[in-house]
Point group: C2
Chain length 142, copies 2
């Protein structure tokens, strides 16, 4: 077998594994908020930026409506968000936080620290990873 088909020589596989591994670390922490990782991302967008269209959330998280629509319906069922069609342009659905959704931000404050603890990666390595990923992401997604 030629070397370039070897699993160990490829970059995508370790990237794919690490991403799954890190999300797995979030699970027991986010269970306290009754959120999955993608749901947590949506909530962060809303906490950070307030009321948003579905497409705005999609752009920020690189997720399409086929993923977001059912996810947002689950957040609505948990009474964390409200989905409402705009009167000016009824194609547009705006997503806003409920009181519960807003309050959840306080509970979420501890999440990043808990993650850093459980990941247990050198701060330097983490920073290096962040830098190189951001560098590549900015080139690749256009």
């Amino acid at each position: 077998m030629s070397d370039n088909l070897k699993l160990s020589n490829q970059v995508c596989f370790p990237l794919y594994t690490l991403a799954k591994e890190v999300i797995k670390k979030y699970r027991p922490i986010l269970i306290d908020l009754d959120l999955t990782y993608p749901q947590y991302l949506v909530m962060m967008v809303l906490w950070e930026e307030g009321i948003q269209n579905v497409s705005e959330i999609g752009n920020k998280l690189s997720l399409d409506s086929g993923t977001l629509t059912p996810l947002l319906k689950r957040l609505e069922q948990k009474e964390l968000i409200i989905r409402k069609r705009k009167t000016e342009d009824e194609r547009i659905v705006t997503i806003s936080l409920t009181e519960n959704g807003r309050k959840l931000e306080n509970t979420a404050q501890c999440v990043p620290n808990k993650i850093v603890e459980t990941l247990n990666i050198d701060t330097e390595d983490l920073q290096q990873l962040k830098n190189i990923i951001n560098k590549i992401n900015s080139k690749i997604t256009k």
Copy 2:
């Protein structure tokens, strides 16, 4: 909002996005082999290591039986692999390549080069990403 809850300050989100983005680049290339990315990973294990148990594949790819069983059944339907229970220990299912499955390795030779082309990332950046991810992966998955 406290800074540590900001999306931009977290490492997991760019990691998760980059992994999805890279897998997305594989899709149009793997479509020629009629494989998804996880199916391609399984085929690479088999090309590289030959006949394997389900659990051995699972360990190498960090995937559990709930993921692998249906995936392997799809590969079996495509007549790329054979699933066979061991006679010595009938709990164990061994996965081997069919003639078609073996032949597909030739077609797959071009995949890594095509990926490097379409990713269009500096070789240095790619190497740096690979190094830091491998370093972190080896610490995190134990």
